[in-house]
């Protein structure tokens, strides 16, 4: 593949101590030489791989910044191509200025995910690793980053390989037994194949189960804060967010639209929506807000139902409790600093998790965190175990699981081994596709569709 030499800022864009501009491709060294003058006078094209040089970056005689140039020679680099990394002072202006100089010197701007794509195409990383890099880049919480790192380092791969190898040896035994009827090869028994299937089913199922908490860690749970007007929803949200986003007043109906924010509660990311109070209203603008809120509520992954400790349950509260039965919910009792008039017994009969807070004082955040983690299932979630991190992987495991279940069903139904083998081999090929040991058109398409963030 004739690739251009490309360049991009490889560190987070923003104020940081150091900014790195990565150049990758056949002309990476020559391009770097055009703008980099080392103190020692040595040219970058004369440098060996894995060596560094200190110098100045300049363009048209104008010094831009001091920098360290790191040289990697193909294929011993991240992308598998010649790579120069220029570490200059951080800061948006400087890094952008250096990048412009590099582009002026002949590099093309790197497309989103391009370095990783090249690494994959040059055989430096396999599919799951490539996807993991993307996951690390877009990870929103510590847990997500840790989980992504585990995929990259092969925890998922190991788990998948385990199942795959078991199925492969079973298939091999079946083949040998069929192909050599005249050699006395140990007979394959229905029980032994069922046992293999059962083990595979257990492992694949646990991978799938972990996917949901993996998703909670990675993408966050869509969370709705609901309650009747002026119960303190916006205050709770602000407490969670750490800064004011909603307009807080004591006039009912102040919040008329869903306000979105992303917060990290423990290891879980919550995508918060503060909804307009659920009440019947004649105000047109507010009515739209209320309808939207109801819709949101039906689709959410977590409902934080807020109640006022100082008031008795009214019709709106009963309606909210009914909604809370349908989705994972936490009852948040606000205003615990005021006298109790609320029927808490009734709430606890209907909503499993109850947390007491005083949004004004900031009390109860820890309890809330624990309840959220319990609901997200992340308490027992160990990211280092290797989890599925995206939809492509989930579908492959799901298909593999279906095939193994099919194989087991067929055996129990009394089908012959040749039919069972079809299902077992199907499961194997799904797993091979997952680990990138087999490629189909669809896989390549799907993976590159996901390469939408820059690195």
């Amino acid at each position: 593949m004739n690739y251009d030499t490309v360049a991009a800022i490889s560190t987070a864009q923003g104020e940081g101590g150091i900014g790195v501009i990565r150049i990758s491709g056949d002309n990476a060294l020559q391009i770097a030489d055009k703008i980099f003058n080392s103190v020692s006078g040595k040219k970058i094209t004369e440098m060996k791989g894995y060596t560094a040089s200190f110098g100045k970056i300049s363009e048209n005689g104008e010094d831009i910044d001091e920098a360290v140039a790191l040289v990697f020679k193909a294929p011993h680099s991240y992308t598998g191509e010649d790579v120069v990394e220029l570490s200059c002072h951080g800061g948006l202006y400087i890094t952008k200025r250096v990048l412009r100089a590099v582009l002026n010197a002949g590099a093309a701007p790197a497309q989103a995910g391009e370095f990783t794509k090249r690494a994959f195409l040059n055989g430096k990383i396999d599919l799951t690793e490539a996807e993991a890099v993307i996951d690390i880049i877009s990870a929103k919480s510590r847990g997500a980053a840790r989980a992504a790192l585990c995929v990259k380092e092969g925890a998922l791969r190991k788990k998948i390989d385990g199942v795959k190898n078991d199925l492969l040896s079973q298939a091999a035994h079946l083949s040998a037994w069929a192909d050599y009827p005249e050699e006395d090869i140990a007979e394959v028994t229905v029980d032994s194949v069922i046992e293999t299937c059962d083990n595979a089913i257990k492992c694949l199922q646990s991978l799938l189960d972990s996917y949901d908490c993996g998703q909670a860690v990675k993408k966050g749970i869509d969370t709705v804060i609901a309650g009747r007007p002026n119960v303190g929803k916006s205050t709770l949200m602000n407490l969670l967010s750490g800064y004011e986003k909603s307009i807080v007043t004591d006039i009912p109906g102040t919040t008329r639209d869903i306000v979105e924010d992303t917060v990290t509660v423990g290891d879980v990311v919550l995508n918060l929506s503060d909804t307009a109070g659920l009440r019947d209203t004649e105000d047109t603008v507010e009515k739209i807000g209320v309808d939207r809120a109801r819709k949101r509520l039906e689709q959410c992954g977590l409902l934080l139902a807020v109640f006022d400790n100082s008031r008795e349950l009214d019709e709106d509260d009963y309606a909210l409790i009914e909604s809370a039965k349908l989705v994972p919910s936490i009852a948040v009792i606000n205003k615990t600093d005021l006298d109790n008039k609320l029927d808490i017994d009734y709430i606890s009969k209907n909503i499993k998790y109850i947390v007491y807070i005083s949004a004004i004082n900031g009390d109860g955040r820890d309890e809330l965190t624990k309840a959220v983690e319990k609901i997200a299932g992340t308490q027992s979630f160990n990211p280092s175990e290797g989890v599925l991190s995206n939809e492509r992987q989930r579908i492959a495991v799901k298909n593999a699981l279906n095939s193994v279940v099919e194989a087991k069903d067929a055996l129990e139904f009394g089908m012959t081994f040749d039919a069972v083998t079809v299902s077992i081999e199907d499961a194997i090929s799904q797993l091979l596709e997952l680990t990138g040991e087999r490629t189909s058109d669809e896989v390549v398409d799907r993976v590159f569709h996901n390469f939408c963030v820059g690195k």
Binding site: D179, D418, A419, V422
Partner: protein
């Protein structure tokens, strides 16, 4: 002095199983064909086992027959005992195997060739093949020169053949026939990539010297099944085989004498078949195994020679005698022909197209052991492919490429020309990813229309085939519309077959879907059953029972075909694609795959390389 002896459209060098199918196909398609054999009495010889078929090999024979080849018919005419292997393991792996009368097989084949229009059978050793304008000049040992438009090399173990028995070794073809000693050098000069392979055969012992009294008897199936869709009266099984076992004493003798094996002493450079090892190989590789099975098989009706299947060896004759004598029943056996290993020249099949024509030598084809395969059936299958395609070339018609999703023949050829052969290639059902579709019972459905299109299936046979398909369709319709009532008689059958009783009327087709039931079980209650060819019942029953799995496998076939239609350019330097790893570039440049599917099966081309190819192809197509 050389003399000009004539011209042919197709010349076949060798009259073994590959050569026979190649020559018959070419001649039947109207090409003026010559067939050269070193010894007229070695036409269609079976120098190893006196049997045709076996796992996956039986599939090949059925496929050859469905395409209009000869092996199945002749095997039926010479059959002594027939068994369907793998019953109970499922229809995909059912494989027919027949013991045959080997001398009769040879003479029946020879006679068919003699009677074949357009085909000249000649006893002559070809010593030189030279590229000339419009074809090749073949020179015989007697200095006759034939000008041939196309040539099919099917030299088997004769090419540079060398026999090893312990410390003794000499140049020879199989069964004491002299080898082709000169052709190898000529082919090397021409530029073919030759290498050495080896194979072997066990001893033949005198029947009256075997004590059968304590051996397990192996009988044929009743009734025996034929290979050919055209054989109507196969007759009865005529012989029995016997089973015996080696023991610890046998093993000890091998271990004590292994240094005298030419293979272990390093005298044989040829690579032997892992899938069909010599007995000493089995002992050395599976040291923990206390005993090995062997089969004692008759070689024919008018001979007392018995073949010891599983006991191939290249140890010295005295050692052979010693270890054979440790085996129950063989304690006093008389060896009539000793076991031997034979080393021979063959070609790297990666140099060929899927038509079995050499990529760099237009009109030159190879088939059989010469291509790196092992086995009569594998040879015959390739002979048919090469014969058809040589004829297509002469006639100016489109080449015929067999798809691996449609036949074992296609799988065999694709494996050879794509993956190559590092050892003699043996067909196995596990080599096909489409086992459930590529069954031995439905070979006609898969290939007879193609055989008719090629011109090897007569209009008459094709009409018969179409009629059979129609009857099959009608039978399926009948099963769908026939309802079986929940009578006591029906439920008695169901209970006896350990499947649940019925309480209301059930369609016959739904009963047949149960693994425990079939035509046999339901015979007495299926009162409207027509009198059909048993093969129709077999196919219908399998299709009903395995429908879901067949669909699943067909879906897998579809997936694969998506990559098969992505054509790769013919003359392209893969070094231009920089994303490919070095090994992949080299392999792709050597093999020049026709499409992505074939490329993905090349060992040394990784999935990452395939992704690179796919993306490169997409970009390339966009540019154009």
């Amino acid at each position: 002095m050389n003399y000009f002896a004539g011209e042919y459209d197709v010349a076949v060098v060798g009259a073994g199983h590959a050569g026979i199918e190649a020559a018959l196909a070419a001649a039947r398609l109207g090409c003026k064909t010559a067939m050269f054999t070193i010894n007229m009495d070695a036409v269609g010889n079976c120098p190893c086992n006196p049997s045709i078929g076996g796992t996956a090999k039986g599939h090949l024979v059925r496929e050859i027959d469905a395409l209009g080849g000869e092996m199945g018919k002749t095997a039926d005419e010479c059959f002594l005992q027939s068994r369907m292997l793998n019953r109970g393991k499922g229809p995909a792996v059912h494989s027919l195997r027949a013991q045959i009368d080997r001398r009769k097989y040879s003479s029946v084949m020879k006679h068919k060739i003699e009677l074949q229009k357009n085909l000249d059978l000649r006893q002559a050793e070809i010593t030189d093949i030279e590229k000339v304008d419009g074809g090749y000049n073949l020179t015989t040992r007697m200095l006759a020169v034939f000008k041939c438009k196309t040539v099919i090399i099917a030299t088997g173990t004769y090419l540079g053949g060398r026999i090893f028995v312990g410390e003794v070794s000499y140049e020879s073809g199989p069964d004491g026939i002299f080898p082709a000693a000169f052709l190898g050098a000529s082919l090397k000069k021409l530029g073919l990539p030759l290498r050495r392979f080896k194979t072997g055969t066990p001893a033949r012992v005198l029947k009256s010297s075997i004590d059968f009294s304590e051996l397990e008897v192996q009988k044929g199936d009743e009734p025996p099944q034929p290979f050919s869709y055209e054989t109507e009266n196969l007759g009865e099984n005529k012989v029995e085989c016997h089973i015996s076992w080696t023991n610890d004493e046998t093993k000890q003798i091998i271990l004590e004498n292994i240094h005298r094996s030419p293979l272990y002493a390093g005298k044989i450079e040829g690579v032997g078949p892992r899938y069909c090892p010599s007995f000493e190989d089995k002992i050395m590789r599976f040291k923990d195994k206390p005993r090995h099975q062997l089969f004692i098989e008759p070689c024919g009706l008018d001979t007392e020679e018995m073949y010891l299947q599983g006991m191939s060896s290249s140890l010295p004759e005295e050692v052979q005698l010693k270890f054979y004598h440790t085996i129950k029943g063989l304690e006093h056996c008389l060896i009539m022909r000793p076991a031997y290993a034979i080393e021979y020249d063959c070609v790297d099949p990666l140099a060929m197209n899927p038509t079995l024509e050499f990529k760099d030598f237009e009109g030159l084809f190879g088939a059989g052991q010469f291509n790196g395969s092992s086995g009569y059936e594998e040879a015959a299958a390739q002979g048919l492919v090469a014969g058809i395609n040589a004829a297509m070339k002469v006639l100016g018609r489109e080449p015929v490429i067999f798809d691996r999703s449609e036949s074992y023949i296609g799988t065999l050829v694709d494996d050879l020309v794509t993956k190559g052969a590092n050892e003699p290639y043996r067909m196995m059902t596990s080599r096909s990813e489409y086992r459930l579709v590529l069954r031995q019972d439905n070979a006609d459905e898969r290939l007879t229309p193609l055989g008719h299109k090629i011109g090897l299936i007569s209009d008459e046979r094709y009409a018969k085939y179409l009629k059979k398909q129609e009857l099959k369709k009608e039978e399926l319709k009948r099963l769908k519309s026939t309802v079986i009532s929940p009578t006591d008689e029906v439920n008695k059958i169901l209970v006896s077959r350990e499947t649940s009783e019925i309480t209301s009327g059930v369609r016959l087709i739904d009963l047949m879907k149960r693994p425990q039931l079939g035509y046999d079980a339901l015979k007495s209650v299926d009162t409207t059953r027509p009198d059909l060819d048993p093969n129709i019942f077999e196919q219908v029953e399998i299709e009903i029972k395995y429908e879901g799995y067949i669909q699943k496998q067909l879906k897998q076939v579809e997936q694969m075909k998506k990559l098969e239609v992505k054509q790769l350019p013919k003359d392209f330097d893969y070094n231009e694609i920089e994303g490919l790893r070095l090994e992949a570039r080299e392999k792709l440049n050597k093999i020049k795959p026709l499409n992505i599917g074939q490329a993905s099966r090349i060992s040394g081309v990784s999935p990452a390389d395939i992704s690179v190819l796919l993306i490169w192809l997409a970009q390339n197509n966009r540019r154009q």
